[in-house]
Symmetry: C2
Subunit: 136 residues, 2 copies
DNA sequence: TTTGCATCCAACTAATACAATTGGATTACT
DNA sequence: AGTAATCCAATTGTATTAGTTGGATGCAAA
């Protein structure tokens, strides 16, 4: 069970954009977060595609959040790169196995799945920054 | 984010053993759970190695739980096949990156990591079976 | 003591997923 | 036109995963 690079970098990029008072260039995110500019390409694409960030062209260009930090959750970022969380394949009706209707394991994985989703969906970028600010 | 086959099958095997009033042969687990006997080899080995099941030889042989169902948690089964849950590598001190001390992402992953561990460690085999029995 | 199961164990393979790079196309401001 | 940034597709190398194969070992009934 791991969090993959898309999501890790995606969250870091979002934090970087959220922290900045002015629009941020991809290059700047890459530098500040020490991520390859090229690799960041697909990360930015994912975030943009998911409607989490927008960019303007021309002078003073760069990326900004598409919504308020309090309206962006970690799960939204997760979803920018992956389909709905599905810890085990049999949680999806089309992949159910014959034992499904009476399977303690499946029931448990479903429960865990929901809880993880909840934890990710109840944490916003705003809270993330606030938590961090308190420690500094 | 996925639950791998070792752990899925491991949990199913544990449930199968817990449900049975008498010791269960590997072959029986395989049949009842529709898992290849051979593949089950390594699953059983993991569970046994972790001290979750034991087997006796001779007549009436088979596997039984090494502890009471109420003392076996899902996280123990997880641990039979993997090191401690570590959603992202930088949670481990030896893999920390330079930004670590002030990284909102890391703090969040740590929090999520703990919560997932808690959810897995607070669910016992006993509860798993009880929950399932209520539905039937 | 031989035969038959069942467990035990290591090596191997095929398939997939992951992280990351490359190279080039497009866009739009200067 | 030139430059810088974004956009996009294809490719690579590596690691992980799921699963198979084949055989060694141990025990007990015949």
């Amino acid at each position: 069970m791991k969090i993959n690079t898309n999501i890790r970098y995606g969250l870091r990029a979002m934090v970087e954009i959220a922290k900045s008072p002015t629009p941020v260039l991809q290059k700047e995110i890459a530098e500040r977060q020490e991520i390859s500019v090229n690799y960041l390409d697909s990360i930015i694409a994912g975030l943009k595609n998911a409607g989490l960030i927008v960019n303007y062209e021309g002078k003073g260009s760069g990326y900004i959040l598409a919504k308020k930090p309090k309206d962006i959750t970690v799960y939204q970022i997760y979803r920018a790169f992956s389909p709905e969380l599905q810890l085990v394949n049999c949680l999806c009706e089309t992949n159910e196995c014959r034992r499904s209707s009476n399977c303690p394991s499946k029931d448990y994985w479903f429960e865990l799945n929901s809880k993880i989703k909840d934890i990710m969906d109840s944490k916003t970028i705003e809270e993330l920054l606030k938590d961090n600010f308190l420690i500094e």
